[in-house]
Protein backbone atom coordinates (compact mmCIF):
# COMPACT_ATOMS: atom_id res chain seq x y z
CA UNK A 1 0.00 0.00 0.00
CA UNK A 2 1.27 3.44 -0.87
CA UNK A 3 2.60 5.10 2.31
CA UNK A 4 2.28 8.59 0.87
CA UNK A 5 -1.34 7.89 -0.05
CA UNK A 6 -2.03 6.57 3.43
CA UNK A 7 -0.41 9.65 4.94
CA UNK A 8 -2.53 11.99 2.81
CA UNK A 9 -5.65 10.01 3.64
CA UNK A 10 -5.02 9.93 7.35
CA UNK A 11 -4.31 13.62 7.54
CA UNK A 12 -6.67 15.15 5.00
CA UNK A 13 -8.91 13.17 2.71
CA UNK A 14 -10.00 10.53 5.23
CA UNK A 15 -9.38 12.46 8.43
CA UNK A 16 -11.17 10.61 11.25
CA UNK A 17 -12.84 13.67 12.79
CA UNK A 18 -13.30 16.04 9.86
CA UNK A 19 -14.19 13.63 7.05
CA UNK A 20 -15.29 10.35 8.61
CA UNK A 21 -16.98 12.38 11.37
CA UNK A 22 -16.41 9.89 14.19
CA UNK A 23 -14.84 10.29 17.62
CA UNK A 24 -16.21 13.74 18.25
CA UNK A 25 -17.08 13.50 21.96
CA UNK A 26 -13.53 13.69 23.20
CA UNK A 27 -12.53 16.20 20.53
CA UNK A 28 -14.93 18.81 21.82
CA UNK A 29 -14.59 18.07 25.50
CA UNK A 30 -10.87 18.29 26.17
CA UNK A 31 -9.62 20.85 23.66
CA UNK A 32 -9.40 23.68 26.17
CA UNK A 33 -5.61 23.86 26.46
CA UNK A 34 -2.79 22.75 24.17
CA UNK A 35 -1.44 20.47 26.92
CA UNK A 36 -4.69 18.48 26.97
CA UNK A 37 -4.93 18.40 23.20
CA UNK A 38 -1.45 17.07 22.49
CA UNK A 39 -1.66 14.66 25.43
CA UNK A 40 -4.96 13.17 24.29
CA UNK A 41 -3.88 13.06 20.66
CA UNK A 42 -0.68 11.17 21.42
CA UNK A 43 -2.51 8.77 23.76
CA UNK A 44 -5.04 7.95 21.07
CA UNK A 45 -2.25 7.55 18.51
CA UNK A 46 -0.41 5.03 20.69
CA UNK A 47 -3.55 3.07 21.59
CA UNK A 48 -4.81 3.09 18.00
CA UNK A 49 -1.51 1.81 16.63
CA UNK A 50 -1.18 -0.95 19.23
CA UNK A 51 -4.78 -2.09 18.76
CA UNK A 52 -4.46 -2.02 14.96
CA UNK A 53 -1.39 -4.23 15.12
CA UNK A 54 -2.98 -6.75 17.48
CA UNK A 55 -6.27 -6.93 15.58
CA UNK A 56 -4.49 -7.30 12.25
CA UNK A 57 -2.30 -10.04 13.70
CA UNK A 58 -5.33 -11.92 15.01
CA UNK A 59 -7.63 -11.24 12.09
CA UNK A 60 -7.56 -14.75 10.68
CA UNK A 61 -8.29 -16.48 13.99
CA UNK A 62 -11.16 -14.40 15.40
CA UNK A 63 -14.59 -15.97 14.76
CA UNK A 64 -17.08 -13.60 13.18
CA UNK A 65 -19.80 -13.57 15.85
CA UNK A 66 -17.66 -12.42 18.73
CA UNK A 67 -15.28 -10.15 16.86
CA UNK A 68 -16.72 -6.94 18.34
CA UNK A 69 -16.34 -8.30 21.87
CA UNK A 70 -12.72 -9.28 21.17
CA UNK A 71 -11.95 -5.81 19.73
CA UNK A 72 -13.40 -4.15 22.80
CA UNK A 73 -11.42 -6.37 25.17
CA UNK A 74 -8.16 -5.70 23.32
CA UNK A 75 -8.81 -1.95 23.26
CA UNK A 76 -9.79 -1.92 26.94
CA UNK A 77 -6.56 -3.70 27.79
CA UNK A 78 -4.38 -1.12 26.04
CA UNK A 79 -6.42 1.79 27.43
CA UNK A 80 -5.94 0.49 30.97
CA UNK A 81 -2.18 0.26 30.34
CA UNK A 82 -1.98 3.83 29.01
CA UNK A 83 -4.25 5.10 31.79
CA UNK A 84 -2.05 3.62 34.51
CA UNK A 85 1.12 4.90 32.82
CA UNK A 86 -0.31 8.41 32.60
CA UNK A 87 -1.45 8.31 36.22
CA UNK A 88 2.08 7.36 37.22
CA UNK A 89 4.23 9.57 34.99
CA UNK A 90 2.09 12.58 33.93
CA UNK A 91 -0.51 12.90 36.70
CA UNK A 92 -1.41 16.43 35.61
CA UNK A 93 -2.57 15.14 32.23
CA UNK A 94 -4.50 12.31 33.86
CA UNK A 95 -6.28 14.76 36.16
CA UNK A 96 -7.00 17.21 33.32
CA UNK A 97 -8.41 14.60 30.94
CA UNK A 98 -10.35 12.92 33.73
CA UNK A 99 -12.88 10.37 32.63
CA UNK A 100 -12.00 10.78 28.94
CA UNK A 101 -8.97 8.51 29.09
CA UNK A 102 -10.95 5.38 29.97
CA UNK A 103 -13.54 6.63 27.45
CA UNK A 104 -10.99 6.09 24.67
CA UNK A 105 -12.26 2.49 24.88
CA UNK A 106 -15.50 3.52 23.22
CA UNK A 107 -13.89 6.06 20.93
CA UNK A 108 -15.48 5.32 17.57
CA UNK A 109 -12.20 5.93 15.74
CA UNK A 110 -10.46 2.92 17.24
CA UNK A 111 -13.34 0.50 16.87
CA UNK A 112 -14.11 1.92 13.44
CA UNK A 113 -10.57 1.47 12.09
CA UNK A 114 -10.35 -2.03 13.58
CA UNK A 115 -13.59 -3.00 11.90
CA UNK A 116 -13.07 -1.24 8.58
CA UNK A 117 -9.34 -1.56 7.96
CA UNK A 118 -7.46 -4.01 10.15
CA UNK A 119 -9.75 -6.90 9.39
CA UNK A 120 -8.65 -6.95 5.78
CA UNK A 121 -5.08 -5.67 5.79
CA UNK A 122 -1.64 -6.81 6.86
CA UNK A 123 0.02 -5.95 10.15
CA UNK A 124 2.46 -3.51 8.50
CA UNK A 125 -0.32 -1.60 6.70
CA UNK A 126 -2.43 -1.49 9.85
CA UNK A 127 0.53 -0.19 11.84
CA UNK A 128 1.04 2.74 9.49
CA UNK A 129 -2.69 3.30 9.23
CA UNK A 130 -2.84 3.64 13.00
CA UNK A 131 0.01 6.14 13.01
CA UNK A 132 -1.35 8.29 10.20
CA UNK A 133 -4.95 8.33 11.43
CA UNK A 134 -3.66 9.11 14.92
CA UNK A 135 -1.59 11.96 13.46
CA UNK A 136 -4.67 13.29 11.66
CA UNK A 137 -6.64 13.18 14.90
CA UNK A 138 -3.84 14.92 16.82
CA UNK A 139 -3.63 17.66 14.20
CA UNK A 140 -7.34 18.36 14.48
CA UNK A 141 -7.06 18.48 18.28
CA UNK A 142 -4.13 20.90 18.06
CA UNK A 143 -5.98 23.20 15.64
CA UNK A 144 -9.04 23.22 17.88
CA UNK A 145 -7.02 23.87 21.03
CA UNK A 146 -5.05 26.70 19.49
CA UNK A 147 -8.21 28.35 18.15
CA UNK A 148 -10.25 27.99 21.34
CA UNK A 149 -7.45 29.12 23.61
CA UNK A 150 -6.59 32.09 21.43
CA UNK A 151 -10.14 33.37 21.06
CA UNK A 152 -11.12 32.39 24.59
CA UNK A 153 -8.21 33.62 26.64
CA UNK A 154 -5.73 35.20 24.25
CA UNK A 155 -3.20 32.49 25.03
CA UNK A 156 -1.07 30.07 23.10
CA UNK A 157 0.26 26.84 24.57
CA UNK A 158 -1.52 26.83 27.92
CA UNK A 159 -0.19 24.17 30.25
CA UNK A 160 2.64 23.26 27.96
CA UNK A 161 4.76 26.34 27.43
CA UNK A 162 6.15 28.53 30.18
CA UNK A 163 7.72 31.88 29.35
CA UNK A 164 8.04 33.21 32.89
CA UNK A 165 11.68 32.13 33.30
CA UNK A 166 12.78 31.83 29.69
CA UNK A 167 11.10 29.56 27.16
CA UNK A 168 10.61 25.97 28.32
CA UNK A 169 8.15 23.12 28.00
CA UNK A 170 6.38 22.04 31.17
CA UNK A 171 5.28 18.41 31.15
CA UNK A 172 3.38 18.82 34.39
CA UNK A 173 0.72 21.14 33.06
CA UNK A 174 1.73 24.20 35.03
CA UNK A 175 2.97 26.37 32.15
CA UNK A 176 1.05 29.60 31.73
CA UNK A 177 1.42 29.81 27.97
CA UNK A 178 2.27 32.82 25.87
CA UNK A 179 -0.26 35.59 26.49
CA UNK A 180 -0.91 37.16 23.11
CA UNK A 181 -3.54 39.62 24.24
CA UNK A 182 -4.82 40.22 27.80
CA UNK A 183 -7.24 37.62 29.06
CA UNK A 184 -10.03 40.13 29.81
CA UNK A 185 -10.47 40.73 26.09
CA UNK A 186 -11.02 37.10 25.25
CA UNK A 187 -14.45 35.48 24.71
CA UNK A 188 -14.48 33.23 27.78
CA UNK A 189 -17.43 31.33 26.38
CA UNK A 190 -15.06 29.58 23.97
CA UNK A 191 -13.70 27.58 26.88
CA UNK A 192 -17.20 26.28 27.61
CA UNK A 193 -19.19 23.62 25.68
CA UNK A 194 -20.52 26.29 23.32
CA UNK A 195 -16.99 26.91 22.08
CA UNK A 196 -16.38 23.22 21.57
CA UNK A 197 -19.47 22.65 19.43
CA UNK A 198 -18.93 25.83 17.44
CA UNK A 199 -15.25 25.27 16.68
CA UNK A 200 -15.78 21.71 15.54
CA UNK A 201 -18.76 22.72 13.41
CA UNK A 202 -16.76 25.46 11.71
CA UNK A 203 -13.78 23.15 11.13
CA UNK A 204 -15.89 20.41 9.55
CA UNK A 205 -17.67 23.03 7.41
CA UNK A 206 -14.29 24.38 6.25
CA UNK A 207 -13.08 20.88 5.42
CA UNK A 208 -16.22 20.10 3.43
CA UNK A 209 -15.80 23.36 1.52
CA UNK A 210 -12.18 22.54 0.70
CA UNK A 211 -13.02 19.00 -0.39
CA UNK A 212 -15.94 20.13 -2.56
CA UNK A 213 -13.77 22.75 -4.25
CA UNK A 214 -11.04 20.26 -5.04
CA UNK A 215 -13.67 17.86 -6.39
CA UNK A 216 -15.13 20.59 -8.59
CA UNK A 217 -11.66 21.41 -9.92
CA UNK A 218 -11.03 17.74 -10.65
CA UNK A 219 -14.36 17.41 -12.46
CA UNK A 220 -13.68 20.56 -14.47
CA UNK A 221 -10.25 19.23 -15.41
CA UNK A 222 -11.77 15.90 -16.48
CA UNK A 223 -14.42 17.72 -18.50
CA UNK A 224 -11.77 19.83 -20.22
CA UNK A 225 -9.68 16.74 -20.92
CA UNK A 226 -12.71 14.98 -22.46
CA UNK A 227 -13.44 17.99 -24.66
CA UNK A 228 -9.83 18.17 -25.77
CA UNK A 229 -9.89 14.47 -26.61
CA UNK A 230 -13.11 14.93 -28.64
CA UNK A 231 -11.61 17.86 -30.54
CA UNK A 232 -8.59 15.73 -31.42
CA UNK A 233 -10.84 12.95 -32.69
CA UNK A 234 -12.77 15.43 -34.84
CA UNK A 235 -9.56 16.72 -36.33
Amino acid sequence: MNRKQQFKEGLITNNPVLVQQIGMCATMAITTTLFNGIGMGLSVLIILTCCNVVVAALRKIIPDEIRLAIFVVVIAGFVTIVDLLLQAFIPALSAALGVFIPLIVVNCIIIGRAEAFCQKNTVKDSFFDGIFQGLGYTCVLIIMCVFREFVGSGRFGGGLIDVANGFRFTLDGTGGGIQIFPEEFGAAIMNLPFGGFLTLGLLIGLMQYALKRSEKKKKAAEHAAKEAALKEVEE
Partner: protein, 194 residues
Protein backbone atom coordinates in the same frame (compact mmCIF):
# COMPACT_ATOMS: atom_id res chain seq x y z
CA UNK B 1 -30.56 11.35 51.60
CA UNK B 2 -33.58 12.45 49.64
CA UNK B 3 -32.06 15.89 49.21
CA UNK B 4 -28.93 14.25 47.87
CA UNK B 5 -30.90 12.22 45.38
CA UNK B 6 -32.91 15.21 44.18
CA UNK B 7 -29.79 17.28 43.75
CA UNK B 8 -28.11 14.49 41.78
CA UNK B 9 -31.20 14.15 39.57
CA UNK B 10 -31.54 17.83 38.77
CA UNK B 11 -27.82 18.04 38.23
CA UNK B 12 -27.86 15.17 35.76
CA UNK B 13 -30.88 16.40 33.81
CA UNK B 14 -30.39 20.16 33.66
CA UNK B 15 -27.31 21.63 35.29
CA UNK B 16 -24.67 19.16 34.15
CA UNK B 17 -26.58 17.73 31.22
CA UNK B 18 -24.67 14.78 29.79
CA UNK B 19 -24.54 16.16 26.30
CA UNK B 20 -24.57 19.91 26.62
CA UNK B 21 -22.28 20.20 29.63
CA UNK B 22 -20.21 17.05 29.74
CA UNK B 23 -20.03 16.11 26.03
CA UNK B 24 -20.78 12.46 26.76
CA UNK B 25 -22.83 10.72 24.10
CA UNK B 26 -22.33 13.11 21.17
CA UNK B 27 -22.04 10.53 18.40
CA UNK B 28 -25.56 9.06 18.68
CA UNK B 29 -26.82 12.53 19.60
CA UNK B 30 -25.72 13.83 16.22
CA UNK B 31 -26.40 10.67 14.27
CA UNK B 32 -29.79 9.69 15.60
CA UNK B 33 -31.57 13.01 15.97
CA UNK B 34 -33.09 13.31 12.50
CA UNK B 35 -36.65 12.63 13.54
CA UNK B 36 -38.34 13.10 16.88
CA UNK B 37 -39.75 9.54 17.00
CA UNK B 38 -36.40 7.84 16.43
CA UNK B 39 -34.81 10.19 18.93
CA UNK B 40 -37.40 9.38 21.59
CA UNK B 41 -36.97 5.64 21.04
CA UNK B 42 -33.20 5.92 21.25
CA UNK B 43 -33.49 8.02 24.39
CA UNK B 44 -35.70 5.46 26.13
CA UNK B 45 -33.34 2.63 25.23
CA UNK B 46 -30.39 4.61 26.61
CA UNK B 47 -32.25 5.39 29.87
CA UNK B 48 -32.92 1.70 30.36
CA UNK B 49 -29.34 0.65 29.57
CA UNK B 50 -27.80 3.38 31.72
CA UNK B 51 -29.91 2.53 34.74
CA UNK B 52 -29.26 -1.19 34.56
CA UNK B 53 -25.57 -0.74 33.76
CA UNK B 54 -25.11 1.56 36.77
CA UNK B 55 -26.68 -1.02 39.05
CA UNK B 56 -24.78 -4.05 37.78
CA UNK B 57 -21.43 -2.26 37.53
CA UNK B 58 -21.76 -0.88 41.08
CA UNK B 59 -22.31 -4.38 42.40
CA UNK B 60 -19.36 -5.81 40.47
CA UNK B 61 -17.10 -2.95 41.47
CA UNK B 62 -17.88 -2.98 45.17
CA UNK B 63 -18.27 -6.68 45.78
CA UNK B 64 -15.69 -8.20 43.42
CA UNK B 65 -13.12 -5.76 42.10
CA UNK B 66 -12.34 -3.58 45.10
CA UNK B 67 -12.21 -6.33 47.76
CA UNK B 68 -9.76 -8.25 45.56
CA UNK B 69 -7.62 -5.16 44.82
CA UNK B 70 -8.45 -5.32 41.15
CA UNK B 71 -9.63 -1.73 40.75
CA UNK B 72 -7.47 -1.34 37.64
CA UNK B 73 -9.77 -3.82 35.87
CA UNK B 74 -12.72 -1.45 36.16
CA UNK B 75 -12.62 -0.22 32.54
CA UNK B 76 -12.45 -3.73 31.17
CA UNK B 77 -15.14 -5.19 33.42
CA UNK B 78 -17.53 -2.29 32.87
CA UNK B 79 -17.30 -2.40 29.11
CA UNK B 80 -17.94 -6.17 29.18
CA UNK B 81 -21.05 -5.62 31.29
CA UNK B 82 -22.31 -2.89 28.96
CA UNK B 83 -21.71 -4.94 25.81
CA UNK B 84 -23.56 -7.91 27.28
CA UNK B 85 -26.40 -5.69 28.49
CA UNK B 86 -26.89 -4.05 25.09
CA UNK B 87 -26.92 -7.46 23.41
CA UNK B 88 -29.57 -8.54 25.91
CA UNK B 89 -31.69 -5.42 25.31
CA UNK B 90 -31.44 -6.03 21.55
CA UNK B 91 -32.73 -9.59 21.92
CA UNK B 92 -35.49 -8.47 24.26
CA UNK B 93 -36.69 -5.70 21.92
CA UNK B 94 -36.54 -7.94 18.85
CA UNK B 95 -38.92 -10.35 20.53
CA UNK B 96 -41.24 -8.05 22.44
CA UNK B 97 -41.35 -4.71 20.61
CA UNK B 98 -40.24 -5.47 17.02
CA UNK B 99 -41.48 -2.09 15.74
CA UNK B 100 -39.11 -0.21 18.06
CA UNK B 101 -36.34 -2.65 17.16
CA UNK B 102 -36.65 -1.97 13.43
CA UNK B 103 -37.06 1.78 14.03
CA UNK B 104 -33.81 1.95 15.97
CA UNK B 105 -32.05 -0.24 13.42
CA UNK B 106 -28.31 0.08 13.61
CA UNK B 107 -28.38 2.56 16.49
CA UNK B 108 -29.18 -0.11 19.06
CA UNK B 109 -25.82 -1.93 18.93
CA UNK B 110 -24.23 1.52 18.85
CA UNK B 111 -25.38 2.15 22.43
CA UNK B 112 -22.39 -0.03 23.37
CA UNK B 113 -20.02 2.62 22.08
CA UNK B 114 -22.06 5.42 23.56
CA UNK B 115 -19.72 7.48 25.72
CA UNK B 116 -22.61 8.34 28.01
CA UNK B 117 -23.17 4.79 29.23
CA UNK B 118 -19.54 4.04 30.04
CA UNK B 119 -19.14 7.61 31.23
CA UNK B 120 -21.94 7.44 33.79
CA UNK B 121 -20.56 4.21 35.21
CA UNK B 122 -17.06 5.67 35.54
CA UNK B 123 -18.43 8.88 37.05
CA UNK B 124 -20.28 6.83 39.66
CA UNK B 125 -16.94 5.37 40.69
CA UNK B 126 -15.22 8.76 40.61
CA UNK B 127 -17.90 10.39 42.77
CA UNK B 128 -18.04 7.47 45.23
CA UNK B 129 -21.80 7.11 45.03
CA UNK B 130 -23.59 4.39 46.97
CA UNK B 131 -25.95 1.97 45.22
CA UNK B 132 -29.09 4.11 45.26
CA UNK B 133 -27.20 7.22 44.19
CA UNK B 134 -25.54 5.34 41.34
CA UNK B 135 -28.81 4.01 39.98
CA UNK B 136 -30.45 7.43 40.31
CA UNK B 137 -27.54 9.08 38.51
CA UNK B 138 -27.72 6.46 35.78
CA UNK B 139 -31.45 6.85 35.18
CA UNK B 140 -31.56 10.63 35.42
CA UNK B 141 -28.43 10.92 33.29
CA UNK B 142 -30.29 8.92 30.68
CA UNK B 143 -33.31 11.18 31.06
CA UNK B 144 -31.08 14.19 30.52
CA UNK B 145 -29.70 12.54 27.38
CA UNK B 146 -33.23 11.87 26.18
CA UNK B 147 -34.28 15.46 26.84
CA UNK B 148 -31.29 16.73 24.89
CA UNK B 149 -31.75 14.38 21.94
CA UNK B 150 -35.51 14.99 21.59
CA UNK B 151 -35.07 18.77 21.88
CA UNK B 152 -32.35 18.66 19.28
CA UNK B 153 -34.38 16.47 16.91
CA UNK B 154 -37.08 19.15 16.87
CA UNK B 155 -34.46 21.81 16.16
CA UNK B 156 -33.02 19.72 13.35
CA UNK B 157 -36.40 19.17 11.72
CA UNK B 158 -36.60 22.95 11.38
CA UNK B 159 -33.05 23.52 10.17
CA UNK B 160 -33.83 21.27 7.19
CA UNK B 161 -35.75 24.14 5.61
CA UNK B 162 -33.21 26.82 6.40
CA UNK B 163 -30.95 28.49 3.93
CA UNK B 164 -27.37 27.76 5.00
CA UNK B 165 -24.13 27.65 3.00
CA UNK B 166 -23.70 24.45 1.04
CA UNK B 167 -20.46 23.46 2.75
CA UNK B 168 -22.29 23.33 6.09
CA UNK B 169 -24.55 20.49 4.95
CA UNK B 170 -24.81 17.64 7.43
CA UNK B 171 -22.87 17.77 10.69
CA UNK B 172 -21.50 21.34 10.66
CA UNK B 173 -24.90 23.04 10.77
CA UNK B 174 -25.92 20.46 13.38
CA UNK B 175 -22.95 21.31 15.56
CA UNK B 176 -23.51 25.05 15.28
CA UNK B 177 -27.18 24.59 16.29
CA UNK B 178 -26.03 22.37 19.16
CA UNK B 179 -23.66 25.15 20.24
CA UNK B 180 -26.61 27.53 20.52
CA UNK B 181 -28.71 25.04 22.49
CA UNK B 182 -25.69 24.42 24.76
CA UNK B 183 -25.55 28.16 25.37
CA UNK B 184 -29.20 28.03 26.41
CA UNK B 185 -28.47 25.22 28.84
CA UNK B 186 -25.72 27.34 30.36
CA UNK B 187 -28.54 29.27 31.97
CA UNK B 188 -28.87 26.44 34.47
CA UNK B 189 -25.26 26.50 35.60
CA UNK B 190 -24.53 27.53 39.13
CA UNK B 191 -28.00 26.51 40.30
CA UNK B 192 -27.93 25.11 43.79
CA UNK B 193 -31.23 23.86 45.10
CA UNK B 194 -30.48 21.66 48.08
Amino acid sequence: MLANILSISLGAILINNFIFSQFLGCCPFLGCSNKVDTAAGMGLAVVFVMGLASAICWVIDNYILIPLNLAFLETLAFILVIAALVQFVEMFLKKSVPSLYSALGIYLPLITTNCAVLGVVLLNVQNNYNFIESVVYGITGGLGFMLAIVLFASVRERTQFSDYPECFEGFPICLVSAALVAMAFMGFSGMKIF
